[in-house]
Symmetry: C2
Subunit: 432 residues, 2 copies
């Protein structure tokens, strides 16, 4: 093993992070090579900096004018567009994202956690976590209704075992008991769990009461000696449409709750700032007794896996987002307007579904947030999907052949009733 | 194993690709889930498309005006900036990149290879290849002078064994014999090799004669029954400054050369189009007898690992590059001007080094292309690096404590003599 990896492992020894590291995670480190030496030169090489692997002229990167001219004059410098981004992300963007975390989750005040690290989108963050913290023999717990990429990342890519629990209980609330039971059943006294609120595909976020119960259940298990890594996938954070919904994420509640809980917030500008194609995610770590040196070692391992998977992340996207967040006059207004439009669609959807209440064919899963709603299907959801596509030119997503997902986020408000009626009509026709 | 993975493995059975797959590679597939169903809906869901996980309005993604306004009016549509990129990359950009491959490597004419797949930069491509095709017990051969990230990717990330051979022979040419010898010494009749021309850190590209000899050596080994995966890292492709340098990559020579050779071209817009921060790389596969169905299966596994590592790649970067390549009036001119400027710096460097010819302290490794040159150091290169930084505010890169790399690509032409003199002077002072 590389001496730098050994050093980091030594610093992390005895912590919950140490408990969770995979073989890859143990081997990983951030090399004192080209990148580290370039960073040093950036500060000190005021006369000549011959470390940079970029073609530069007068201190700015060279560029194709046909690209630069697609930006408005005086918006970004060539360096802000064409240069490599800093490892771990633009320092100002990271600081600003952290500041926003406090605004979005006021209860984080007084808690300690790491400075968010930029990843190439939320998936890249999850993939880095899978590499560092999961492997054959480890178990990841997810709800039975979850994004299909989790399996590709954790089962296919790193060969961990994926166990599911029913997302909803009989009353349509979050199934805390089932979650606790499946976690407790994981052998070896160690488990990973990934929770995604608002949920994809059902659009569900637990209520304030439920979120507290989830946190309590996790703390109970930790108290009983179970080591837990809790990945909070907050991709759709902020798109909450109902009063009782928990508005602060699970991460806030468990960040410093217990030594046996390793909490990780995976979020992204992708949906929160409507920059789907930019690929800007963030990873933020917390555990009760982690010291600054331990956070630093954990960050170095994360920087290592980022370096070895993508080198560094998208620069123009980070610059554009930073400018909008820091200097933009309409940043908050535009975000709020988009959220209000989503809320309008949510209410239109709810009204449209009421008309079909009691239908045995399609039963909406409880939803209250995010981009989606999903139906529990009486017949084959794949058959219904194809029927809708061929007969009515309506596109939906079929999941595991028993669930149909509607992304009402991409349907205009006044069209939603027609869409819902068509889906019910098609179900009646396809499954007759 | 997932049935879709089994299907792909069946299609690839008996090919050189099959020989090279890692356990991850065997498990990998592209799910018929959300992404595949969305692609189908994109074509057929003309009435309502409720598959898309984006907030849209009037068929365009919503966005923050503070970001959109940083682009010049009428340059890109909101969809070209904010939407998710297609899996595998923008189809037009992929087609155009393939077309350019023929222009850049005329001998590719008549050869078959896969449509380039977009990755999140060249490193991401290498990392995907490492995941799909290398693991514990496998050996990757690289020259002793190579980019430090190769080890992080292949040794630390996927736990393969890295073996090196001396890049140069006694006469300062590419050491074909040493390469062949170390490949032949890999047990199990199977080896991976990664060659990077122009080389980082030395700036060396083999001559036409040498490149032919490299190809012949690989074909000889293949003829003897050795299975070879040859990764051609063409990051700095095109930056050639001397007459005798091979102007077409190794990939061209071995693409369809032998059933036992699996050739992979890893290239990127990063340096070729001076968009370092954009993260746009390409993976292109070839082997003599691969059928279209086999290329397709290989692509599906690649799309799977891309999906499970980053979901998809940067959209605005791809749109900007596509517009420049397809519609830009100055695309070729700007590229050629940058190359000419690099050539001027190369000649200035050569002249500056002549003054110090015969010095025992620093011996330049042969160089003729790319961004860099490197010295073989008589003393500690790390000591020299720190001395240069502290005493002269000059930043260089130290490699393995015996090599000092100069990125002359980022130093103005008229400053290069001063830089070179300072490096020699510092060596005399630091090692006295």
């Amino acid at each position: 093993m590389h001496e730098l990896a050994i050093e980091l492992n030594e610093i992390l020894k005895g912590t919950i992070v140490d408990e969770m590291l995979s073989d890859v995670g143990r081997r990983m480190f951030f090399p004192k090579g080209i990148v580290a030496q370039s960073a040093e030169a950036k500060l000190k090489a005021t006369r000549f900096n011959a470390t940079i692997g970029m073609a530069t002229s007068d201190g700015q990167p060279m560029y194709l004018s046909d690209i630069y001219n697609q930006f408005s004059q005086d918006s970004l410098t060539p360096a802000e567009i064409f240069s490599y981004a800093a490892g771990g992300g633009d320092p100002q963007l990271r600081a600003l994202w952290k500041e926003m975390l406090f605004k979005k989750n006021p209860s984080l005040q007084g808690k300690h956690f790491s400075l968010p690290i930029v990843t190439g989108g939320l998936t890249h963050g999850l993939s880095c976590l899978a590499q560092l913290f999961a492997q054959s023999g480890d178990t990841l717990v997810i709800p039975d209704l979850a994004w299909d990429n989790y399996e590709l990342i954790f089962a296919q890519q790193v060969n961990a075992t994926v166990k599911t629990f029913p997302l909803y209980d009989d009353k349509g609330g979050f199934n805390v008991a089932a979650m606790k039971e499946v976690l407790a059943s994981v052998s070896g006294g160690k488990a990973r769990i990934l929770l995604n609120f608002p949920n994809n595909p059902t659009g569900y976020t637990p209520s304030e009461t439920e979120m507290n119960a989830i946190a309590e259940a996790l703390i109970d298990l930790a108290e009983d000696g179970m080591k837990l890594m809790v990945l909070c996938d907050d991709a759709y954070f902020g798109l909450f449409f109902e009063e009782e919904t928990a508005k602060e994420g699970l991460f806030t509640r468990i960040a410093n709750a217990h030594d046996n809980i390793f909490a990780i917030k995976c979020d992204a500008a992708t949906k929160e700032d409507m920059v789907w194609g930019f690929r800007i995610g963030f990873l933020t770590y917390a555990s009760k007794s982690l010291t600054p040196a331990q956070y630093d070692a954990l960050n170095k391992k994360t920087l290592g896996i980022i370096r070895s998977t993508v080198s560094n992340c998208d620069r123009p996207g980070q610059s554009l987002l930073l400018h909008a967040m820091r200097d933009g006059k309409n940043y908050l207004r535009d975000k709020e307007n988009a959220r209000l439009e989503m809320a309008k669609r949510f209410h239109a959807l709810t009204k449209a579904l009421e008309k079909h209440a009691g239908s045995e064919l399609l039963k909406p899963y409880p939803y209250n947030s995010g981009y989606f709603m999903a139906f529990k299907c009486k017949g084959s959801s794949e058959q219904l999907r194809q029927y809708l596509l061929e007969k009515y030119q309506v596109g939906c997503i079929s999941i595991k052949d028993d669930t149909l997902r509607l992304a009402y986020c991409s349907v205009e408000c006044d069209k939603i009733p027609e869409l819902v009626d068509l889906v019910y009509q098609a179900a009646g026709e396809a499954w007759k």
